[in-house]
Each structure stands twice: as C-alpha cells, then as structure tokens.
C-alpha cells in the first residue's frame, strides 16, 4: 500500500475542502478502497476519513412517505431495518445477496455506489486497462471476458458495475444527494454512473471533492412492496458477484399489472434500467408470454463483448424469472438464500 496523508475532518464542509485536493479520496468503511490500495490499483495521496462525521448514519422516514438513507448507513443495518425491509423488500433482498456478512456489516451505502468494477484486468496492475491508466488499452478485450458487459460497453472498456444494491435502487427511482464546494445538489441514480465511451476512467458524475451524503427513495417506490424481488445468478451459491441479476417490482390491480419496474445487474458499467420492458408490462395481464416479451425488449440492444454471448440467454431467463417471482408476491420472510434463482415458489416455479 502506498503511503498517504490521513485526515479526519469534523464536518462535511471540512471534508469537502480536504477532498478537493488532487489525489485525495474519501475513506468510509474501506472494504473496497483498502483492497484496491493493497493491490496498488489505486494510490491516493490523501485519505479523508468520513466515518466519524455526525448525522450521516440515519435512516429517516420522510413526511411525504419516502425514505432518506444516510451515506454512512451500513449495508446490513439497512437490510435489517424492519420498516425499510417491509416497504422496499427488493432492496433488502439485493443487499443481503451481496458480499459476506462481515463485509455487509462494514460497507456503507455511499461506498456501495462508488465501488469499482471487479474486472480482473482492472485489478491486475500488469494488464492494460483504460479505466486504471487512460489510453493504455484494454486487455479484457480478447481476454478472459465471459463475465463482462453485454450492454452499453465501448471499445475502450467492457467492465461491469458490481453492485447488487444499485439494481433495485435504480428501478425504484432513487435519488443521490451530493455535497460539494458549490453546495448541495441531487441527481437521479439513473444518471449518476456514466457509460464508458472513450473515457472509462470517469465512472460517475461526481466532481472533485463532491461527496455522497444520502440516497433517497420516493414514496411511489413503496407502492411496489407486495410484488418485489431481486434475483441473482452467481457462480457459487453465496458470497459472489452477479453473473446476471434482475430486480423486478410490480403493482398489481386485480389480474392486471398496473405498473412495473425492471433493472439489470452484471450486464453493464452501470445498473441498467429498462423502460422498454416496463412499458410492455404496464397494463398487461399477468402472463408468462408477456414476461418473455418484456425480456426481449430489455435485451434488444444487447450484444456480446467477447466470450459472453451466453449472458444474453441467461439475462432473458433471469428477467422472466424475476418478473414471475415478483408476480407471485414478496415472500413474508426473507428467503434463506436471498436472491437465489433456485428457491421454489409453490404453484409458480419448481413448485
């Protein structure tokens, strides 16, 4: 690990000033950052430790029915908050499907949005990576890339964003609250992460020194609570990143889908929302053929970036599975294996 200056500011404003210096990085739990620093992948000259800042670890129910989640709330704490899990069950399921219990106990909400890709070529400092060294090239192209992106990728980068949490969040119209030198602003999560284009080193819209202070879900997000699921295919049962995942949330009236939300994980450099699929599901009957049409629409623009053509078919099936499970209803109790595609649902799948 490189040496660095360590600063522990007392206020958000002081943190923003300290982090505006070139080469500075924010330190929250550090579950991703310290790992990257140990590997020499990132070498910040200054760490601005925000873990002791006051008031950023609250989960606040808002008067309008939405919820505001402080940037320093731990993943496990949010998933275990009974009110939050009841109102936003797909978000809780996604959180609990990610990482390990130890990492979920430490990792923060803000840090989750800012975690880096797990592309092996990004991690291996001997490999060419445009994200790590702009202009260096991309060894993932033509390399071992079966887990790489099938949507929104470019010739310069085919990495995926690894977050589970962000997938239902983007489906449910989450908003990111940001504090910076010019004051506070907010931006929809949908617009927070950037597609790689020819500048994959810029992963978000954050300006130097800007800090995530909270993530908000609007009141409408809670109206999907009865029919919300997160489904995640992994290469082992637990403690693995998504090969492909999907969050599906439905509002059902009688035998009709009144409104639908759908987003995918593991397929692109950002959590991938599909308004095309949502449009097909809206006002449609609860019918497997409709689910399949929605999946086709979500993947219309998908194309392999290497040896990952199987992900198109996998994504199609996971979308159908997520919608079918959401239609069957949110389970009363969190499944033993959150997000597992192998769980049985009586009368629907494997039942």
């Amino acid at each position: 690990m490189n040496s660095f200056d360590y600063i522990r500011p007392a206020t958000v404003q002081a943190a923003v000033v300290a982090a505006s210096e070139p080469g500075a990085a924010y330190l929250a739990a550090g579950t991703n950052l310290l790992d990257l620093m140990k590997g020499g992948v990132t070498r910040p000259r200054r760490l601005v430790d925000i873990t002791h800042l006051p008031d950023l670890d609250h989960i606040d129910e808002l008067p309008d029915g939405g919820v505001r989640i402080g940037a320093l709330v731990r993943n496990a704490e949010l998933a275990r908050n009974a009110t939050f899990a009841r109102r936003f069950p797909a978000v809780a399921e996604a959180l609990l499907s990610g990482a390990s219990a130890q990492l979920r106990n430490a990792a923060t909400v803000g840090g989750n949005l800012l975690q880096r890709t797990r592309c092996a070529y990004f991690y291996d400092v001997a490999s060419a990576c445009n994200k790590r060294s702009p202009g260096a090239g991309c060894d993932a192209r033509g390399g071992d890339n079966r887990l790489h992106a099938i949507m929104g990728w470019s010739e310069s980068c085919i990495a995926t964003h690894p977050s589970d949490f962000c997938v239902p969040l983007v489906a449910l119209d989450a908003v990111v609250e940001i504090e910076g030198g010019a004051g506070r602003r907010e931006i929809p999560l949908e617009m927070f992460h950037r597609l790689p284009g020819d500048g994959p080193e810029r992963e978000t819209v954050l300006e130097p020194g800007e800090m995530i202070v909270a993530v908000r879900l609007p009141p409408e997000a809670a109206r999907f609570a009865a029919h919300s699921r997160y489904v995640k295919v992994r290469e082992r049962t637990s403690y693995a990143f998504a090969v492909v995942s999907a969050a599906a949330a439905l509002r059902i009236e009688g035998s009709t889908i009144a409104a639908a939300r759908l987003a995918l994980g593991g397929v692109a450099t950002k959590p991938w929302r599909s308004p095309e699929a949502e449009q097909i599901l809206a006002a449609a009957p609860i019918d497997a053929s409709i689910f399949r049409r929605a999946a086709e629409a979500a993947l219309a623009e998908a194309k392999p970036s290497g040896d990952n053509g199987f992900k198109l078919e996998l994504a199609r099936r996971i979308i159908v599975r997520a919608i079918a499970l959401a239609a069957a209803g949110t389970p009363e109790r969190m499944p033993a294996l959150p997000g597992s595609p192998f769980a049985t649902v009586a009368g629907v799948i494997h039942g």
């Binding site: 690990m1 040496s3 660095f4 200056d5 360590y6 522990r8 330190l27 739990a29 550090g30 579950t31 310290l34 790992d35 140990k38 590997g39 760490l47 430790d49 873990t51 002791h52 731990r74 496990a76 275990r80 990482a99 390990s100 219990a101 130890q102 990492l103 106990n105 430490a106 049962t237 637990s238 403690y239 969190m334 033993a336 294996l337 959150p338």
Partner: protein, 165 residues
Amino acid sequence: MTFSTTLTVNGVTRTIELDDPRVTLLDLLRERLDLPGTKKGCDRGQCGACTVIVDGRRINSCLALAVSHHGAHVLTIEGVADGNRLHPVQEAFLAHDGLQCGFCTPGQIMSAIGLINEGEAYDDPERVREGMSGNLCRCGAYQGITQAVLDAQKVLQAARSQEVA
C-alpha cells in the same frame, strides 16, 4: 506525524501511538497488541480468518484501518472465554469437530458469535451456511461447523431464557 488511537480491546482500553496510518486493525492486534489469535489469511477480505467483532458487529479486520477505528470496542478470540471456561461456541466447535488444521477457527468462532447475536439463522442449517459464507475452511470442516453453530445457538438461547426467568 503520529496518530493517537484509543481502542477498547477485550474490555481493556488502550491508547496506541501509530507512526503510520496504513496499519490495519488486524496488524495492530497481531503485531502491536500481542493478540495473534486473529489470523491473517488472504489479507483481502475474502477468507474471513481475520474476523473480529467491532462495536457488536463482525467485520474483516484486514480491511479496516486501525486509525479509523478510534473509540471502537473490539472483541477478539482471546476475549471470548471466561477464564478457563470456554465460550459455548468454542465448546461446540470441539464437540462437533468443527475444525481440522485450526487456522480458520478463530475467525469461524468470531463469525459464529456474530451470527448468533444477529439472531437470523434460527435452527435452519441453510441460513447458518449462508450466514457463515464469509468464512472459508480449506480443510472442508463445513458440516461440523454448521452443526457447531446450530448447537451453540441452542445452548446460548437456553442460557438467555434462564437469565430472563
């Protein structure tokens, strides 16, 4: 520049002067506080051998900077027994052969204590396995570990309900 960090480790409050902010909580415990029970396996948050309980939560001490944990309460494997009386989770690991070489065991035991405190595994082996998936055992003692956690949980629940009564 030195950094003064105060930590309560296994009930003892200690102030440590660090000359470098790079020291992880794991290295602090092992190298500076003479508590080598917490193991360094992968040092990258993948194996769970370094699991300790910080402010009531099990975490990977290899991915935590000591200086950032100023004011924290840390419980390590050295602090779980009551004198010569082993902790019920330690007893259960012995009773169920929840180990072979023993290297991952301190992390397994700290993780199991954390899992039981979280109270979400119930008597479901599937939930125990999921809850323990952050702790690898290269000897493959998983069957014994799962049994040990289920058994220890029963013992601790019985003790707790006796206290209440």
